[in-house]
Symmetry: C2
Subunit: 436 residues, 2 copies
């Protein structure tokens, strides 16, 4: 019996008769010969049809591009064919015909459709190799993230997304009707991952988070995948930053091994993760920005996107690093559970990691003493009652701990240098978009 | 410098001085000697303190059980100690003291607290080895699931949880205020995972699903983790069932290798996954149930929980299998996208997998021709417009495909034979419970 193979297995079956199944990606005729491209879930392959007769099954079914087909034939090397192989002496079959033209042309090397068209027709426009390679990178990023952390003794958790009170603040939270009660969609697994340090010391989670931010920017969407990490028995935020460095290096190593095809299709090279990622304290960053800009920097407690870009350029030029840490952000800009810098408590033991000049990761050391939480809630003007379960973790003994969160789509956006986060999200959600 | 080790690394450091850090799990005095149990994120170890003087750091800090401590000392084998090791010549330090008794005693071998108490105080009651072993099994189940599917060429996806319309039906869906629009929490990734077959052929997802079922049973909660799979180019539902068998076998093999400690703590053995899981068509199941019960079976289009238990017993007795498939459920009880049995269209190409007499997995072949969808929606009295994006996937060419979904907490519940799904869920959500 003829074996059924994947397009990516062609090299192992040269000179053999095989069967391939997939989508009719493209057709092209040249001097009486027709070249079809069959695309399956892994790659593409050229089918060379030497006579009109060979195309009859397609004609009879009225099968146009994106029809689901099968092809039996002889596999041989053909240096002029994309990928280096072709199927000849082909017998075609139509499994599921598409008899009207598809709404967007997806078989050019570069998709020329507008972003809105790409997103509106995602069930179709995610299919071509250059689009799906992006989501292959997403999948492999998650795999590299998990593998690195499992190797460091972390346990995976899944925490609830329906919560009784907002995590970080009362703003930007989606409200749910929960059997007649008010409930909310979790803005992050923050409270739960900290709680889980009391159980497993080291935990991670990969899951959706929900932010009801009404503004539309190319770097924000309202539902995204957060790669969350939390660990106990740290010295301070630098212990956490060292772990983040290992995680990033682990992801890159995983992509290096498993994502070669996607990287080639997208024509990108992976950034190197330096053994020591450069870091600047917030105060130093401001001095540096004043120098670079040749004038005083506004007295803001945060960095603007353009300042982040300047720091990204500086790290690349001075340290050859696509990554740079900014540490010590003013306490007033960080959430109430942030641990202050012990010797200068207006600053925090927190950090952001910029990747190519854009904020990619936020993290830091958290408070761990119950009395510090009581004080922090009081200072933030928050009542203790809604936080009772969270506080119980600290009242029952918690070590110094901290963690971080990486936005998956943001990471891939920066990796492939996409102009908009919506292009590295399978089915993005923003104020104007709830479908597909 | 004294190395800091995990409790589970003790065997590699016998005869050495080491430092351990963790929680003061228990204390016991016997003839002037005090035995402390230190619990870290991985296990426990006995600290043997031969004098009152050695306990002074605890006394001075007023440190009670669950205090975070460190201990330096000499590691040696001690067959009488739980785990077979003890730390002697101990110097104690208190990292974070707990100075009031914790609200629930968690240091007995069996927790005697009521279920409600366990759930109310989860940040504490998840800590003891017998509770956290359950969630170690959850983590390893996810890992085994992913590893098996990656080996079979599946790509991981993350699809949106905020959706514009209900997936399976209009009932049992949580409503969200989405910037003033009505939106819903996804009841399953069904539509998206089918759509993704058009992109990657084989996909899986691990993520939360939300069911607004108002009834409270020991086997239902309102948010759970679904292990979802979908694959293209199947023959029929039996292709999907064969893949499910591989996934179950892969999970068990992964647990066998990585979960020994958890399995020992919980005193459970893994069920064998037979090479061929027994299966019964729904019609056969009814005949069999009539025989077993010695009388006619009610003409219902579904099986009751007690009927499922009887079939589970039958599979164990007749086939030595903890698993049994029931196939061909009446079309009227399956969702509109279900593929009928070609030669007898009142039945469906669908299945349930029962594990120890409880439904664990639902799956089947889906429709793939657009005209079949148009007809199915019409028969179900549903308009096409809300399904426009979903239908686009089929209009743009889709192969025969199918898949399944495993409930993670349900799987672990049946594995450890817990009496209630809430005990195998970290922070369960039901009509009466939104915290912790």
């Amino acid at each position: 019996m003829t074996p059924t193979i994947r397009t990516t297995e062609a090299g192992e079956h040269l000179g053999e008769r095989v069967r391939l199944r997939g989508w009719l990606h493209a057709t092209r005729s040249l001097g009486g010969i027709t070249f079809l491209v069959l695309r399956d879930g892994w790659g593409t392959i050229q089918l060379t049809i030497e006579s009109e007769e060979g195309l009859r099954p397609l004609h009879e079914a009225g099968a146009m591009v994106e029809s689901v087909i099968e092809a039996e034939g002889l596999l041989r090397a053909e240096p002029r064919a994309p990928g280096g192989f072709e199927l000849v002496q082909v017998t075609l079959g139509v499994i599921s015909p598409v008899t009207s033209p598809v709404p967007v042309s997806i078989n050019k090397t570069r998709l020329t459709a507008q972003q809105a068209t790409l997103l509106n027709h995602a069930p179709l426009t995610l299919r071509p190799p250059a689009r799906r390679a992006i989501f292959k990178l997403s999948a492999l990023t998650m795999a590299g993230f998990r593998q690195t952390l499992q190797g460091e003794g972390f346990t995976e958790v899944q925490t609830p997304k329906i919560v009784a009170s907002a995590t970080e603040s009362g703003a930007n939270v989606f409200e749910i009707d929960y059997f007649g009660q008010r409930a909310f969609l979790a803005q992050s697994p923050q409270f739960y991952k900290q709680t889980m340090v009391g159980i497993f010391e080291r935990v991670f989670e990969v899951g959706p988070v929900f932010r009801a931010e009404p503004h539309a920017t190319p770097r924000h969407i309202n539902e995204y995948v957060s790669l969350d990490v939390e660990m106990g028995f740290i010295e301070n935020h630098f212990t956490v930053m060292a772990m983040l460095r290992e995680v990033l290096a682990g992801i890159m190593a995983h992509l290096e091994i498993h994502a070669q095809q996607a990287l080639e299709i997208l024509k990108i090279t992976l950034p190197e993760v330096p053994r020591q990622i450069p870091h600047l304290h917030f105060e130093q960053a401001r001095v540096l920005l004043a120098e670079i800009q040749g004038g005083p920097v506004l007295e803001e407690p945060d960095l603007s996107p353009s300042e982040e870009r300047l720091l990204g350029k500086w790290a690349q030029q001075e340290h050859g690093s696509a990554f740079v840490f900014v540490t010590g952000y003013p306490m007033c800009k960080r959430p109430f559970y942030t641990h202050p810098q012990p010797e200068a408590p207006q600053w925090s033991n927190s950090f952001d990691l910029l990747f190519r000049g854009t904020e990619l990761v936020t993290g830091g050391q958290r408070l761990h003493r119950p009395e510090d939480y009581h004080q922090a809630l009081e200072q933030a003007g928050l009542p203790r009652t809604p936080f009772a379960s969270y506080l119980e973790a600290f009242e029952c003994g918690m070590p110094p701990h901290g963690g971080f969160a990486i936005g998956l789509e943001r990471f891939v956006m920066q990796l492939v240098q996409a102009p908009n986060l919506r292009l590295t999200t399978l089915f993005p959600r923003d104020k104007a978009r709830l479908t597909p």
